[in-house]
Subunit: 331 residues, 2 copies
Amino acid sequence: MAELANYVGLDVGGTTMKAAVVTDEGKPLSKPVVMDTHPERGADAGLETMCETIRRAVSAANLTMDGIAAIGVATPGLGDIKKGLIIDPPNLKPWKNVAVRDHIAKAFGKPTVYQNDANAATYGEYWVGVGREAKSMVLFTLGTGVGGGIIIDDKIIEGEHSHGGELGHLRIDMPDRGRNCGCGARGCLEAYASATNVVRRAREDMACFRGPSSLREFYTANNDVFTAKLIFDHATKGDELALKVVDDTAYYLALGACAAMATVDPEMIVFGGGMVGSGEWFRKKIEDYVKRFGLPYPTKSVKIAFAQLGSDAGFIGTAGCARMLYRGLTK
Amino acid sequence: MAELANYVGLDVGGTTMKAAVVTDEGKPLSKPVVMDTHPERGADAGLETMCETIRRAVSAANLTMDGIAAIGVATPGLGDIKKGLIIDPPNLKPWKNVAVRDHIAKAFGKPTVYQNDANAATYGEYWVGVGREAKSMVLFTLGTGVGGGIIIDDKIIEGEHSHGGELGHLRIDMPDRGRNCGCGARGCLEAYASATNVVRRAREDMACFRGPSSLREFYTANNDVFTAKLIFDHATKGDELALKVVDDTAYYLALGACAAMATVDPEMIVFGGGMVGSGEWFRKKIEDYVKRFGLPYPTKSVKIAFAQLGSDAGFIGTAGCARMLYRGLTK
């Protein structure tokens, strides 16, 4: 590497956007600058907020734009990655057909790359997170929904229609009996394993669980603050009902992992998002189910891991994509 | 391309092996030379048969080895693609840990590439078959089992453990209720959509189908010659029972296609093998189910197609892999 350079990574979400300057080694030069997205104010206002977030991130790093080699911006789908276009994402309504990459490139006069947010987070973990030693990696992000990304030999599998790594919509049960997914289909992994659906399944399981349960007692008293985290907490303390819900979650995630193995057979499968804060015992459960239900040969050596960068993966990975644009394919 | 070159493609199966010389444009210079594999005679005999098949293919093309730029050899899994090693394939018992690539490279003094047979067939269709205009393609091969391959931007997704594109073991139903697969697991696509399992499902459906059926009449008189092809023939003639079996097959294949779309989102999904001989009406059925059950945005433009090279895809694709080795990544 001839000379070290810095990159801005901007990770736009439906509620807030975050940006920071990241070095060639993947180290953020400050805490991320966070601004509200306010998608309802329209795309022009959104683009201006993006530029302002980038400017503030550069200031927070005690740099000027002269110190920036390239910029990366990531948004939730639907987008056109090759064209740098936000098409019509459910989380950014009413934005439509926004040429975000070209706008930012022009505003700052810097090489700019556009990426899907889950792909970018995957690249972050692959570049400097848990996958930094790996040659191929699949990430499942567990949040309100389930997202994902696939990287093979330093290359993000973007897909012909920018839908590569839409792992939340991998189907784990048949359409005639699978759970209803927010996307309208049935049987999608997201309908089982997103935080929202873990809560939903817990309520269902509660309705037929016979034994005593601290989780049910809590729910009866506080059903308005019932979250996936609470379920994991009760499971950690040994509550049988909560343990069933968590165990089923691990099983469903393992089925998703098996599908990733039968298609791209990665070196490493990573799970990220709030639920992985529950720790090693949950990872072990997923791994055990992968070993039970995966293809024998690859399951012997595939690595099942939890993400390490938390919510920083997005802007770090986006900066990493900018670095890829600037330097070519390399870790 | 400075100077045109020729390549030998050798496609080894459990029963026979086939080889032919293929030009830089993907045109075979003769019909393939076919020899019996006789895996039971051991790996040394097998390697000698491979060399003999290659020699005969070069003769059949009216060439000498001087006219050959590189050699490709493909075998059914389990293998180690990077190391050029046949590990322990069920169809080539008792061969184990056979360094096939290095053996052939040494025997002929030519650059030699090793590939999984389904990956090679996929590359054949991608290079000069139905996918010749595509930038990414997934192939499902429908035979005694279901195999597959994935190509993204000229690159075969081999997988970290040489299990990329093991699409027959994509699970389309849950392990607690899915059909039993030959691999020991339950719910694999192969357990629904291989020729063997189409026949098995037809027998099961027959046991509960209420109406009259020409397929059942045939089966009652000739149950020893009951094949997938017969079922498709009766379906073509409008037999309701046979139509149900074929329709279900299209549905299951579409679920496999949807999983390929949610992971790698290819430009084109191709089906090959005996069943696709039944023609356009069957392709249309698969396409209709993909449009109904796939992610809305990519399904709008994904191409669902049938393979064009038949059983030649294997040796042509293997020769194509040799060409890739010789020329670098390019169509």
